[in-house]
């Protein structure tokens, strides 16, 4: 019954999305302005129905209703409740329903709370949202009905054990919130193009959505990286896997967009470019969804493979993105250039930042798709790995960091090189000292880590410079946001470079009682014990770890044998110290009775994710600052800020 109710709600929501598209398109013209009042209620009720549908799906998963095909294929009655619920979006159909549910809520939020935008632009924006939602409803109802029934099944097939992890239960929702936020930015761009209203007020309306989406993407990528690090047991934190790249590409586009939309909002420049980036950011989110969900690329994350569904998503993408880019080509010529600026100005630095981000995006995109293209056209199978990405994207990212360090110290419109030089001097001195110390003390650590640490030191100093000699209590919140986010970049880069330069690895086969060194530690293999888990059996290695003459402590990596589905996973033991992490995994038993131990000492590796968290926090402060100022200004003057 619940499943049928969910399906009915989904049909209602689809019908309302159609209404939102048609009414919105009609009401865009001033002649039918009377229709405009009807759009917001339609958007809100649509959100309500799709939310009901999504909660129905959660309910059938929570009750382990094995008469629903999706539950039988992806869940198991013996699973802990949290994984039953997260199993709702741990599969293709459920994740698509969640996607469109978040989209519906976003549309309702725009309908209810967006006041800055001209009425016709807002209506066109909501029509674009309706069009996107409609495509995904069609996809769900025609090609991937999540509520389909099945008879005769008593027990489910279980959820991939790698996905049974609290971090991962919330990883897809976070990324999806980010992707959907990008769809809002896309709808704003389409609305602005249709109504020829590209200007600062449009940029201010779009900005909170981009910031919000970008925060979610940042959290999603950071958390995903840490998840891969501690569950896969390979000791790596980024694998340049196609699915990781699929989440990185929209982030790069969104990062560029945040900066260009600031230029548009404050200086009324970069109009066409901002529209272009909004379309690009959404395209990259959709390409990401497509790559993950269609099975067109094989990766550690690959999900169900079904070319028919892939084709459906591809056609949707072609309509949306192709349509938006056609509109862009036809209309953007009529958008005037906006305010001009000097080649030596904050605007120019932001343009350089945008171009570099776009180039890095293209580098990642090319590396991700080259194997696919090559196989499609010649049949040869190759894989593009870390050496390409690191050596091409790495240096570009470091140049980007240097521009990021200077940007906030430049004045809008025009500045003088001499003045900039005086402002960046302290940061450059710190960077030079760091470089000299590293060359003198650290030995050969590789060119990229060396410059990484140097740039991190320089950027760390430069990023707090905007607070120099300012009244800290009167500095706006979004300036703090920028400072913290930029500082987070320096922290993260420092972590990556340190991990690359100073990691110690030791792969050994040990007997019980044997001691092996790793970094500053000595690890003794004390024995093995068997432990039952909720739905797995674990073999746990007991390792006594001592640093110098200090008191030894126990670390216990596990091999876990899951039952449904049967699968062996490696659960690392990780201990965090102020200056790094000790990472131990236990592997197979050798023929001679010894056990394989893999040990890493990773100095300052935690900075990578600390930096990511700081970047997200900076975004959150900026968003809070903007929203607060908008509300405050709106109430006091009764006019847009």
């Amino acid at each position: 019954m619940i499943a049928e109710a969910g399906l009915a709600a989904l049909w209602f929501a689809a019908a309302l999305a159609l209404a939102q598209l048609v009414l919105g398109a009609m009401a865009t013209s001033d002649a039918r302005a009377a229709l405009r009042a009807s759009i917001a209620p339609v958007a809100v009720v649509q959100a309500l129905f799709v939310a009901i549908s999504f909660f129905c799906l959660i309910a059938v998963f929570a009750r382990s209703d094995m008469s629903v095909l999706l539950v039988a294929a992806n869940s198991h009655s013996a699973k802990p409740m949290i994984y039953k619920i997260s199993g709702t979006w741990g599969n293709h159909e459920g994740s698509m329903l969640m996607w469109v549910a978040i989209l519906g809520v976003a549309g309702a939020t725009i309908a209810l709370f967006e006041r800055k935008l001209r009425a016709d632009t807002k209506v066109a924006t909501l029509a674009a949202q309706g069009a996107i939602a409609l495509g995904f409803y069609a996809f769900l109802l025609i090609a991937s009905n999540p509520f389909a029934r099945i008879t005769g099944v008593i027990e489910g097939q279980g959820l991939n054990p790698l996905l049974q992890d609290p971090g991962l239960a919330f990883h897809p929702p976070t990324l999806y919130a980010g992707y959907v936020g990008m769809s809002a930015a896309f709808s704003f761009a389409v609305g602005a193009l249709v109504t020829r209203n590209v200007g600062p007020e449009f940029a201010r309306a779009m900005r909170p959505w981009i910031l919000g989406a970008w925060i979610f993407l940042t959290i999603g990528i950071t958390a995903g990286s840490y998840w891969a690090y501690y569950t896969l047991g390979w000791g790596g934190w980024w694998f340049w896997d196609p699915v990781e790249n699929a989440s990185l590409m929209p982030w790069l586009a969104a990062t560029a967009l945040i900066h260009s939309v600031t230029v548009l909002a404050t200086r009324d420049g970069l109009r066409a470019w901002t529209i272009m980036l909004a379309v690009l950011a959404f395209s990259m989110s959709m390409v990401g969804t497509f790559l993950v969900r269609s099975g067109v690329l094989t990766s550690v994350h690959s999900f169900a493979v079904d070319p028919q569904r892939g084709l459906f998503i591809l056609e949707l993408l072609a309509v949306y993105i192709g349509g938006a880019l056609t509109l862009f080509a036809l209309r953007v010529g009529t958008v005037s250039e906006g305010t001009r600026f000097d080649p030596f100005s904050r605007e120019a630095a932001l343009v350089a930042n945008n171009l570099l981000l776009t180039v890095i995006l293209i580098v990642v995109l090319a590396g991700t798709l080259y194997p696919l293209a090559l196989e499609g056209f010649t049949g040869a199978k190759i894989s593009v790995g870390a050496p390409y990405f690191n050596s091409v994207a790495g240096p570009l990212a470091l140049v980007l960091m240097l521009i990021m360090a200077m940007g906030p110290m430049l004045r809008w419109r025009s500045d003088r090189p001499g003045l900039l030089l005086r402002r960046v001097a302290p940061a450059v001195v710190v960077g030079a000292i760091a470089l000299a110390l590293l060359i003198a003390l650290a030995g050969p650590i590789g060119i990229l880590p060396l410059f990484g640490l140097t740039v991190a030191a320089l950027v760390a100093v430069a990023s707090v410079a905007p607070l120099w000699k300012r009244n800290l209590t009167r500095t706006p919140l979004f300036t703090y946001g920028m400072v913290i986010a930029h500082l987070g970049c320096a922290v993260s880069i420092a972590g990556m470079a340190s991990e690359g330069a100073f990691t110690k690895e030791n792969l050994v086969a040990v007997k019980v009682g044997e001691t092996q060194p790793i970094g500053p530690f000595a690890v003794t293999f004390a024995g093995l014990r068997e432990l039952p888990g909720p739905n797995y059996a674990a073999l746990e290695g007991v390792l006594l770890v001592a640093k110098g003459t200090g008191k030894p402590f126990i670390m216990a990596p596990q091999l876990r044998q899951f039952r449904d589905p049967p699968m062996l996973t490696n659960h690392a033991a990780i201990r965090t110290f102020w200056n790094g992490q000790l990472y131990l995994t236990i592997g197979e038993k050798e023929i001679d009775g010894r056990w394989l131990l893999r040990m890493w000492w990773k100095p300052f590796v935690t900075l990578i994710w600390l930096g990511g968290a700081m970047i997200a926090l900076g975004g959150a402060l900026a968003l809070l600052g903007r929203v607060r100022r908008d509300l405050f200004a709106g109430r006091r003057v009764g006019a847009p800020a």
């Binding site: 272009m276 379309v279 690009l280 067109v296 993408l317 862009f328 080509a329 798709l369 696919l372 499609g376």
Partner: protein, 176 residues
């Protein structure tokens, strides 16, 4: 005019991207991993007998001038059941089939052969998949054609069906 053309560039690029995706979706799925060992001598191995009282398998057995089939299988492998009748037919035609049982136990193997028939002249036990890995085989069942000098001539991935018989016989140098 020039600016007008540049504005269409993003659309052209994205359409090219979609063309790649479209090709990717329609390519033939082929996840077989061909062994790098084809054309090379059989790696050195000595597999203990998988069943008590019967011969095991070793590289030396393949150097007596008679071409043979080397079949990598397991009693726990469901598709392996399907190819037993075909292997039996090959055996009846005078082909010697040597089995490598991967991750298997004697009782399970006994049961498997009793239920489906025994096409094997000898079966070696490969407890740790070491022989399988050395052969460059990535799954069960896989069948290798070994010539009289102990060289791997051909690799067949997956179940051997009736339709594969002529090709295998040709590789063995036999007339069907």
């Amino acid at each position: 005019m020039k600016r007008g053309l540049i504005l269409w560039l993003p659309l052209a690029l994205i359409l090219m991207l979609f063309a790649v995706f479209w090709v990717g979706l329609h390519r033939q799925e082929n996840h077989d991993i061909a062994s790098q060992m084809v054309g090379k001598p059989l790696p050195l191995f000595t597999a203990p007998a998988a069943l008590p009282g019967q011969p095991g398998a070793a590289t030396a057995d393949f150097r007596d001038g008679k071409p043979r089939l080397l079949n990598v299988f397991a009693s726990w492998c469901v598709p392996c059941v399907a190819e037993v009748p075909v292997l039996m037919r090959l055996k009846a035609m005078g082909v010697e089939v040597v089995g490598i049982a991967v991750h298997d136990t004697a009782p399970a193997l006994d049961q498997f052969l009793a239920r489906n028939g025994n096409p094997y002249a000898r079966i070696g036990s490969d407890d740790q998949s070491r022989i399988q890995l050395a052969l460059g085989s990535s799954g069960v069942p896989e069948t290798f054609v070994i010539d009289g000098q102990g060289r791997i001539v051909k690799q067949h991935i997956g179940v051997v069906g009736e339709g594969d018989v002529p090709e295998l016989l040709a590789a063995l140098g036999q007339k069907p």
